[in-house]
Amino acid sequence: MIAETGLAALWLAAALALLQLFLAFAGLKGGKPDLLVAVRPAAVAQGVLTAIAFALLITLFLRSDMSVLLVATNSHSMKPWLYKFAGTWGNHEGSMLLWVTVMGVAGAAVALFERALRRDTHMATLGGQAAISLGFYAFLLFSSNPFARIDPAPADGQGLNPLLQDPGLAFHPPTLYLGYVGLSVAFSFAIGALLTRQVDAAFARAMRPWVLGAWVLLTLGITAGSYWAYYELGWGGWWFWDPVENASLMPWLAATALLHSVTVLATRDALRAWTVMLAVIAFSMSMVGTFLVRSGILTSVHAFAVDPTRGSFILVLLALYIGGALALFGWRIGSVREGAPFELVSRETMLVANNLLLSVILGVVLIGTLYPLMTEAFGHKVSVGAPYFDRIAGPLALALMVVLAAGPLTRWRRDRAAAVCKRLLIPAAIAILLFVSLSLLAWGRIGLLPFLGLIVAVSVGAASIAPLWKRNLLRTPLFTWGMVIAHLGCAVSLAGMACDSAFTVEKLVAARPGDTIQTAGWTLRFARIVPIAGDNWTALQADMRVDRGGAPVMIHPQSRFFASPPTTTSEAALLTRWNGQLYVVLGEEVEGGRWQIRIWWKPFVTLIWLGGVMIALGGALALVGRERRGWLLKWRARRAAA
């Protein structure tokens, strides 16, 4: 019954989306403005129905209802409840249901909470959201029904990929999805604005909180995903330039550019066409990413179900929505007036440079990701890995960081180059000092990119807190704090990346229990190997006593065996210290009773994720700050009127 109710809720939501699209169209273009009254309730009802459908699927997973095909193929009654819960979106159908749920709930939120937008643009936006949702409802109902039954019901399920049985996975995909799909709101805003030709500062101010919200979640999702890959895969790396990772990075790059250009539009009414374009591109990248991951046209370590029919379905949706939006852009943008002009040395120019660099990085990541596909069309099989992305994206990211340092220190509209340089004096001095001392200390021992990365990270970190210089910190607006914290987060993250690639020490040995291993100032005493059992796995665990002069600590890297499906995974042991992480992986047993052990000492590697969290926190502060200011202004206006 539960499954049937869920399916019914989905059909109803799809019907409502169709109705919402029709109402908005008839109300705006068909000369029946009365119909517009019903658009918002339709959007809210749609959000509620999708949420119900998703809650029902979660219930089915928690109850291990094996008569539902999706539960039978992806879950197991012996699995811990957290992974039953996470199993809901750990598969294709469930994650697509999550996708439409986020889309429905976001549409409901736009209907309920958006007050700043002109009414006709608001209605057109909701119509746009309904149009996009409709395609994904069709995809879910016709080719990926999560509520399908299996008869007879199997005695138990097929388990879940053990690699996916991890607390990190319970939360990082939903966060990522909230961000990915949250960008659909920006997309719908762009459609709405193009339809009503309202591309101006008021529109940008209305769109900004939605972009910020999606961007914060996307940032958190990527940060969590990176940490998950770092400790779960046991390869010691934190970013592999895998197609799945690129699929999440590309929307983030576009959204970051959008976030900055929307600020230019909101503050100075410039970059009109460009901002609309970015809003279209950001969600397009979410869809392209989903297509690349789901269609299986690119091979990846994180592969989802590979299915050409589904791929063609998503491709049709892509062509329809992105192609339609770009065509609408081409058709309408000519009638949008040009925005306000600005001087060459100004905050606007800095933000244009930021947008340009982000777009170029987005372009090279996209080319690198799709290059195997292009060459395969000509009969060559290639793979593009980290060397390409590091070599191209690395220098571009460093240039972006320099712009990041200068931007907030440049005035809107017009500034003097000399004045900007003067404000950058201290960061520049720090950079020179670091360059000299690092050259003397470590020249030739660390690569050029991490070398420059360290210098840029420290000096940009100093520059990013400069906007607070000589200000009353208590009276500094919250959104300025947000910007400073987010920019500082970029520097912190870069510092972590540079330290990791410059100073990591790696050791690979085969050792017997009782042996002692010395590396990077640490002493590891390999005590013994013990078998242990978990909820649905058994493991061989190494007990090691590690110290670097102080009190020893026990760590326990494991090699785990899962019964359903039969798989072995290695669980790395992580020891976090203020200045880095010790990362130990247990391999297999070799001749002579020896065990393979791989040890990394990674100085300051945790800064990478700390920076990511700071960036998200900065975005959240900016969001709250802007909204709070809006409320305060409105409240004061109302009081003045009374």
């Binding site: 193929t73 007879p152 097929q158 066409a273 374009m277 591109i281 397009s284 392209v288 297509f291 269609s295 046209i297 091979t299 050409p308 791929g311 063609s312 491709l315 892509l318 062509a319 992105i322 192609g323 770009l326 065509a327 852009f329 081409g330 943008i333 000519g334 799709l370 596909l373 292009m374 395969e376 069309a377 499906p565 039969p566």
Partner: protein, 175 residues
């Protein structure tokens, strides 16, 4: 000039769609094909995998009549999906033998009870040795063996309903 800039994104996007479509619809050759097509089967002898079917050796496959050799496992979902197609082939008079990969007899028995048993003989390949010798890289896979014990065709993945006529034709060609 402005017009070009305005329509450029759409043009670029359409080029990408073309690329995606070509990637999606070209034949997928990422799986490793057996180099043994046209070659005689490697010699092997396997114990019986099910309680009510005899064991399988390579000599059982050279009977003068073309046969199918199905590689499956009880733990494999697509193998259950292709079971009805195998039953249909059996009903069409095709002789089918099978190799169960990394399996156990009770599991195979249970699988056959649930999904039907179209097989004449089933060998148990507990460590995938024969599977590898055959050049198969996963389950399910199905080989067409001609009357002299040579591999005539390798089908990778599950047999769908629309693959059945093709397999029947391959069997006829292998006469």
């Amino acid at each position: 000039m402005r017009t070009i800039w305005i329509w450029l994104p759409l043009g670029l996007f359409l080029a990408f769609v073309g690329l995606f479509a070509s990637g999606l619809f070209k034949p997928d050759d990422r799986v490793i094909h057996s180099r043994l097509v046209g070659q005689p089967l490697p010699a092997f002898t396997l114990p019986a995998a099910a309680s009510d079917r005899p064991a399988l050796a390579s000599s059982d496959l050279a009977t003068g009549k073309p046969r199918l050799l199905n590689i499956f496992a009880s733990w494999c979902v697509p193998c259950a999906a292709e079971a009805p197609q195998l039953m249909a082939l059996k009903q069409a008079g095709v002789a089918i033998d099978a190799i169960a990969i990394r399996d156990a007899r009770p599991d195979v028995d249970g699988f056959l009870r649930r999904y039907g048993n179209p097989y004449a003989r089933i060998g148990l390949d507990a460590r995938s040795g024969v599977q590898i010798a055959l050049g198969s890289s996963g389950v399910p896979e199905t080989f067409v063996i001609d009357g002299r014990g040579r591999i005539a065709y390798q089908h990778i993945g599950d047999i769908r309903a629309d693959d059945v006529p093709m397999l029947l034709a391959r069997l006829r060609d292998a006469q």
